[in-house]
Amino acid sequence: MTGRLLRSRGVRKFRRNRLAMAALGVIALYFVTAIVLFFGGISMDATKERVAPKHMPGFFQTPDLDERLAFAMHFINEADVASRLASSRGQHPHEILQEKALAERRPVRLEIEQYDLLLDEAFTILEEELDLVENLQDHPELEPRVERMEEIAETIFPAPTGWEGGVYWLRTFLGSDAAGQSISVRAVYSIKVAFQIGLITSVVSVLIGSLLGAAAAFFGGWVDHLITWVFSTLSSIPYLVLLSVLIVVFFGTVFDDPERPFLSLVPVYVAFCSTFWIGPCRVIRGETMKIKELEYVQAATAIGFGRFYILLRHIIPNTAHLMFINFSLLFIGAIKSEVILSFLGLGVKGQASWGIMIRDAKDEVASYFFWQIGAATFLMFVLVLAFNIFTDALQDAFDPKHVD
């Protein structure tokens, strides 16, 4: 069976299409990443961990003087708060500072006097020189002073080196969001969420849709009337309206709890599946209408096979190419709709996803911070583009007469 499929004309045509094979490779890469993530490649805690001061830019953008000062001040302020608290409690500042570590960027243990010396110096520079000017950008002569501030921050919180340094670079090379969370970790983690939603909804919708579609066309009569009535009813409600109404039903239940991110995806699955099955159902109903008049179905009936047997063994397998094409179309639809639903606050809850990232990035764009929206859009763009090319090639190879 598999061998025959691989030698079929459609598959050969598909494999000659180099662009489509490249797209398939990209999809495979994403899929493997999603599997690794699913088995704990990146834990959910890692997506919520603070790894840097807020809105740190990515690797090729040099921050300006104001931003550099702000990042240094983040560490200096942490040390300042810790040393005050420590002296009132009679502890060593390092014990308090330890909890302020940003992922691999951990504080070192200095002598208490050393903290005082460094902090005194830092605040003197700040008060006597840096705070006096409105905009550091206009005073390049102050750069050495900002550098000194960075050195002080570096002495208290040294940047990690070696293996840890590499890991830390991976976490920060795309910058950090408003809560100091790693953009790269969140964007990659979102691949898992996208595949979870995409795979579950498209597999379930295609299965339901093609079974019902084939049954409607094959049995005809009241079965056909009922199924056509159900899908014309569902498709007469605008898509976003139906989704929102379905999600209202789940509001305030166990499925609406950010603490349980896996359960909170259930409304999204239900909402998507209840509209997505209509597409494959229509297409496969039409195809089955054609197939059921063909000689081999008549022959099977003449031999005396049961109707269910013919439906499952002879008709549905011959619509497999349409199921594939629809699967791929729905996958794209699911990923894109997830982004929109999450933006409206109706979709993913309690974990990172491309939709959540784009929503968070909405206001950052106005302050010229493009890293978060850029990372989410890029990863999503590559995946959706690969799926678009893949779908086109599938259609060319297996369903060449189709228009759009």
């Binding site: 976003l240 929102s244 209202v248 509001f251 606050g345 106005a366 678009n388």
Partner: protein
């Protein structure tokens, strides 16, 4: 023909009743009043709202009453905005939606049909390939990203840089028309009294442009596929054989025959004219149908949700029937049975 129209209408009545059943049923899975008032509501308030929404009656009575009142466009009063009827909200939110979706549809269709025709005329050449690639690339970016960057480039950058031209606003929507009403058989009918095109440009032009750019990818691809399909037909060969120029074949023979799928495509997008683009309305603060409905959903304002869904679904079905009828008119091959 008339019997065909009548049959289509009759066929869609059970569909519409099904939609109402589904929506009303879904909205009553949990008690609407508790959902709206939250956990700490007092007994009296709950009883009062339940009474006004008719929740004490059996479902079938509520269903029947909703249909009967719906025939007169009476969907009750909004919970959130006391003293405002759903009908007033409905009538007020249609014009803002239309002032974006209608220009957007016209522009998108004109541009993408032209580009599709152009692309299929140069089929296989570099310009065609470039257009096809651009369409696929454009389709792979999220609508949200288009809006965010559209606002950034169209409104934020010009303001920041202090450009000479700062034509677009992204908040503080003002209507670009003034409206008066008159009474007809008990219905209040609005009619426009004056227009100000400059207000339209500042509040509606940018969303229209974004919407055109987003739909271009999908539409261009579709129209190109239609034209390519059409150019493989026998009558094109005949026209070539009798010596018609390529240009004449494109614009006279092909475009005429391609009208059927084109009309269908445009007709199927008609219901979205009324729903409006929910996302664009939210981002630009435009008080249209989509935004009002989403706000009603987040407020759990049940009479509003019910009324809006009923009207939107009705217009949706109406446009589907219209498509079928138009289809039968344009293409005599469509069987009327």
């Amino acid at each position: 023909m008339w019997s065909f129209i009548l049959r289509r209408l009759l066929y869609n009545i059970p569909v519409y009743l099904g939609i109402l059943l589904l929506v009303m049923g879904l909205l009553r899975v949990r008690n609407p009043v508790y959902a709206y008032l939250g956990k700490n509501a007092d007994e009296k308030q709950i009883a009062q709202l339940e009474e006004s929404f008719g929740l004490n009656d059996p479902f079938i009575v509520q269903y029947g009453r909703f249909i009967w009142r719906g025939l007169r466009l009476d969907f009750g009063e909004s919970w959130k905005y006391q003293g405002t009827t759903v009908r007033e909200k409905l009538l007020a939110s249609i014009p803002p939606s239309l002032s974006i979706t209608v220009p957007a549809l016209i522009l998108t269709s004109l541009i993408s049909i032209t580009v599709g025709l152009f692309s299929s005329y140069y089929r296989g050449r570099w310009i065609d390939r470039l257009l096809v690639i651009a369409a696929v690339l454009g389709m792979s970016i999220s609508f949200l990203v288009y809006i965010i960057f559209g606002q950034f480039v169209g409104a934020f950058l010009p303001k920041q840089a202090g450009w000479f031209l700062q034509p677009f606003e992204i908040s503080g929507y003002k209507p670009w028309y003034s409206i008066d009403t008159f009474d007809l058989l008990g219905l209040t009918i609005p009619y426009p009294t004056g227009f100000s095109p400059m207000t339209w440009v500042s509040f509606c032009m940018l969303p229209v442009l974004i919407s055109v750019i987003v739909s271009m990818g999908y539409d261009t691809r579709f129209y190109r596929a239609v034209m390519v399909e059409e150019s493989n037909r026998d009558y094109i060969v005949t026209a070539r054989a009798k010596g018609a120029t390529k240009r004449k074949i494109m614009f006279v023979h092909m475009l005429k025959n391609a009208m059927i799928p084109i009309i269908t495509r445009i007709m199927t997008t008609l219901p979205f004219l009324i729903t409006g683009s929910i996302l664009l309305e939210i981002f630009f603060g435009i008080p249209g149908m989509g935004r009002t409905l989403i706000t009603a959903i987040t407020d759990m304002d049940y009479p509003m949700i019910q009324g809006f869904t009923a009207v939107i679904a009705f217009l949706y079905i109406l446009s589907i029937i219209l498509t079928d009828v138009l289809y039968a008119l344009v293409d005599p091959r469509v069987r009327l049975s």
